[in-house]
Symmetry: D2
Subunit: 144 residues, 4 copies
């Protein structure tokens, strides 16, 4: 399978600033591969909360993750600053594919990039739910 | 892109028992999607250490992760027991593709499955290194 | 303030086996000081769940942590096996002080030991709640 | 043992801004008690790195944690912003007691506060080392 090329900042219109933590660095002295996914979650859910589309405690419709992936191009680690670029790869009736690139400090090309797919469900029943219209409209602004 | 089907235990010959932790459960009451990758790392590096192929502090050749991915089929969470099935998808000259399925308690089909690709490098220089022969031989036993 | 001495296994009657994870080791090659608390949570809540005193999703009365502390005597790290010894330091009307020692592999004296204080509250209102009688009786067996 | 009172911002002169993450919230919908310690580490080591007193990969003298503790007064959680106030409780020949309060969003009193004690050691040998003079001088500015 072909390895993707790192994306650059100009392929994104939505950005989130993220902090690294001491515990992100593993025994090899760089950010452990697992942490990138914690940053993806934080970037996207942070944006959804700010936009009023998600209240983690009260929302009746929540996004469950059904697929994730990440390619790692160069090392990052505490205390680097990270900027996440977010775009939408696909919007289905109840699912969204988010694509995220992580930029280290002032770098123009991504140190890592990946995606995750949210399926929106009714929290109580875990049954798929249509994406609410205002959220769908907001997501469409960032469709690539 | 087609969604993969969950694998069953009989597609694996190498298994590792894994514990869940209280902090694995997120606000939705199940294992956060990030934790699956921490379990992948633990299962594979635990096996490599036991086999004598990896000493996290002293090894001069270490595996850096260049690609990971996971599909999530059903929910798990603390205090579930998890069993990881491991097989080898591909062995290159300096890279290995590990495929891992996570089985919840006594379930026969995977709650989640994924892969990650290690590139073996000289720890000091981060230059790719051939996979040592005894390790290659051991991995070949689990090539699917 | 005097530094405590490491406790030995014979000062405990309740034990839990715990796994370490790859990501527990920090850049200094040993278990990061934060992880010990994740192990405390896992040991104690795991026991409470097994005894039927806690269902993390359904329980209406849950233990919130109001105080924690830990002293570190010697280094542990992945892939060490850890055994937690648990005893009860104090039982109040709605609070419990758990004391936990972490033993590395087959060591007789603790690599680290600490405590945490749970206040039992009604999950919805966060108002303190008396400890249910069967749970109190079970805890009293391990009062030091 | 008497429970401490929450400190206020005016008892600190050194502050660090910290982000919360999605995975910080546990099943009870608030920041898990373990995360506070990850924030302590990040605040203090971040300051040490910025001041030039610590390079996590290259420093030959590093701070190992021998004691930690935290009192929790009120709930925080993602996506709250956290500000850490840092002061120095004690400086020994090779040890430092850091005292940290965590303030939630714009609150004036601490949601949680704690301490940790670093013993400075030679990384290779783990033998205690005197605190380097420039670092000692900088720490003294924040002695309470």
């Amino acid at each position: 399978m072909a390895r993707p090329s790192p994306l650059s900042r100009d392929e994104f219109a939505l950005f989130r600033s993220l902090q690294t933590r001491w515990s992100d660095n593993d025994i090899y002295g760089h950010m452990n591969n697992v942490v990138h996914y914690a940053l993806f979650d934080t970037a996207i859910n942070g944006w959804l909360v700010e936009q009023g589309f998600l209240d983690p405690v009260k929302s009746e419709i929540v996004g469950l993750v059904v697929e994730t992936g990440c390619s790692y191009f160069s090392e990052m680690g505490f205390p680097d600053r990270v900027t996440a670029g977010i775009r939408i790869g696909h919007i289905g009736s109840s699912s969204v594919r988010y694509e995220i690139a992580l930029f280290c400090n002032d770098e123009e090309t991504a140190a890592a990039q990946g995606h995750f797919v949210h399926v929106y469900v009714v929290k109580e029943t875990r049954q798929p739910s249509p994406i609410p219209k205002p959220m769908r409209a907001a997501l469409e602004d960032f469709l690539r």
